[in-house]
């Protein structure tokens, strides 16, 4: 695009972000402060993820952007357009074909490979923020691995409701050292992060933090031995592809309580339907 550098950011800024990414990869789960720039999209729309993607994108990359698991949600469309505009890279909706996948709130159902990078958009990188608002204090807690408070929160949930009520952005321990926010993905997706072959990068633009989970790193949700982490999904099959193992969106179809359940991952669903049609023919 005329007047702007490849992938919008200038090269020194990209270098600065890549340095932060390298540091993040070297200390899995640790939040690295970086000089986040003001982007032409608003804070909260994924400026952190966009900056990470812009910093790692090469001319040969194939980019996929999803929001809520879908390629066609408005914000996913908008970010994909931004990169076709400013980087001219090839884009795809197919998980298998993408080299870089930027996501908001989901991990694709199709297992990722070592040739892929998953970039998460992160609103609040600090997993302790809801318990302790001061960043100066939480920084200290991370330095001392002082995470008893997070367990207190889980204890309180069980005492009150019988089980942990955190249903998304479920806190995880990375590499046995740092407590990390996986971004607001549903708890259903949490275990996909563990020992994932793909590099996982997390960008928080407004909060100016980058963190990472390198390939094949241990990621464990916090839990108790006698109340192990459990994931929830709507107890249905996808109305379109029949999948019983995918995360489902609930779609309200009238105002009398009718609803249908369909895959949140639109590419996965379409792929399965393609397969089924193929089988039928």
């Amino acid at each position: 695009m005329n007047g702007y550098n490849f992938a919008y950011l200038d090269e020194p800024t990209k270098r600065m972000i890549r340095r932060a990414i390298l540091k993040a990869v070297a200390i899995p789960g640790h939040q690295v402060p970086f000089g986040a720039r003001e982007m032409p999209l608003p804070y909260g729309w994924g400026t952190g993820g966009i900056q990470v993607t812009a910093a790692i994108l090469g001319a040969d990359d194939v980019l996929k952007v999803i929001d809520q698991g879908a390629d066609d949600t408005t914000n996913a469309v908008s970010i994909r357009r931004f990169f076709s505009h400013v980087a001219g890279v090839e884009t795809t909706t197919r998980t298998r074909d993408a080299t870089v996948i930027q996501t908001r709130h989901r991990i694709p159902e199709t297992p990722l490979t070592g040739d892929q990078i998953l970039v998460y958009q992160v609103p609040l990188p600090e997993p302790l923020a809801k318990l302790e608002p001061s960043r100066a204090e939480t920084k200290q807690m991370h330095a001392l691995a002082d995470y008893g408070l997070m367990h207190v929160k889980l204890y309180e949930d069980i005492a009150r409701f019988g089980h942990v009520t955190i249903s998304y952005d479920y806190p995880v321990m990375v590499n046995g050292r740092y407590l990390m926010s996986p971004s607001p993905i549903p708890a259903f997706d949490t275990l996909k992060m563990n020992r994932m072959p793909a590099l996982q990068l997390f960008g928080a633009g407004r909060e100016k933090r980058i963190y990472a989970v390198p390939p094949y790193t241990t990621v464990r949700p916090l839990d108790f031995d006698d109340h192990p982490f459990s994931l929830t999904r709507a107890p249905h099959a996808c109305a379109l592809c029949g999948a019983t193992n995918s995360y489902l969106d609930e779609v309200v179809t009238d105002d009398r309580g009718s609803r249908m359940f369909v895959c949140s991952d639109t590419d996965y669903c379409a792929d399965r339907r393609g397969e089924m049609e193929g089988d039928a023919s």
């Binding site: 330095a143 001392l144 691995a145 002082d146 995470y147 008893g148 408070l149 367990h151 207190v152 204890y155 309180e156 069980i158 005492a159 009150r160 839990d223 108790f224 031995d225 006698d226 109340h227």
Partner: protein, 257 residues
């Protein structure tokens, strides 16, 4: 012969022109209750802060002997080690329980926090320990899921004690633990502290301005004035036959009152 649990050598600390600690030395043996008494401004709270590692002295050393008898310089260890010590071997009972408790977390969660910080990951076990401790400090187990803000002042202080003792510390620092309470509530709490301390064989460093509290709980006493230790010895001995004029004054003022 047993070795001291905690030793302080020639501590000095100056705030502006005020000598808060003036060449203070002391030692504490396992299972012993030591009271630090003096008026406000005598340096007793400063001494407690320096002994427990939260304030650094200008000069002097505080040494802690761990269960394997290894000595640790409290002010030379890093923040992570000090924090680990504070949530394992050591405990701290604040004058105001609201400073120590999490008021938005249930009684059970408050007692369980130290267990969880030490790595206990069994909910049932944490809950059982919390129930046991609530019973030991005479709080009804049915209140385990209640928030502390529904508790009375005396209950809050007992909850703080349960929270502090749940991980079986060897050494507990107490800063005016009966400070803000009514006389009748104080008496009951002192009784409870005395029985817990003797049953658990705790070593305690207790700061108080109240000679009666010292007499009831402490085996040994250390009298401070203007940053200096003016007299130290067995509690009964010091209080019944004070040698230093300042101690005499302290004791007589209690008698008059």
């Amino acid at each position: 012969m047993t070795l001291p649990l905690l030793e302080a050598h020639d501590l000095q600390l100056q705030f502006g022109s005020i000598r808060a600690l003036d060449h203070v030395s002391m030692a504490l043996w396992p299972g012993e209750v030591l009271a630090i008494v003096g008026e406000s401004g005598s340096g007793k709270t400063t001494l407690l802060k320096v002994l427990s590692g939260s304030d650094k002295p200008d000069a002097g050393q505080v040494l802690y002997r761990d269960p394997e008898l290894a000595l640790h310089d409290v002010h030379a260890m890093g923040a992570p080690q000090l924090r680990a010590l504070h949530r394992s071997d050591w405990g701290f009972v604040q004058q105001n329980p609201r400073d120590a408790l999490r008021m938005g977390v249930s009684a059970g969660g408050n007692v369980g926090e130290r267990l969880m910080a030490q790595g206990d990951r069994n909910y049932g076990n944490i809950r059982q320990v919390a129930l046991d401790w609530l019973a030991q400090v005479e709080i009804d187990g049915r209140r385990i899921d209640d928030l502390p803000r529904t508790f009375s002042g005396g209950m809050l202080q007992r909850l703080q004690i349960a929270r502090t003792l749940a991980t079986h510390p060897r050494l507990v620092f107490m800063d005016e633990p009966t400070g803000g309470l009514d006389v009748s509530v104080q008496a009951k709490l002192l009784d409870l502290i005395r029985s817990l301390v003797s049953r658990l064989g705790l070593a305690v460093i207790l700061v108080t301005h109240d000679i009666a509290v010292a007499r009831l709980l402490a085996g040994r006493i250390l009298v401070m004035r203007r940053g200096q230790v003016v007299e130290t010895g067995l509690t009964d001995q010091v209080l019944d036959d004070p040698q230093h004029p300042y101690t005499q004054l302290l004791v007589s003022s209690v008698l008059q009152a």
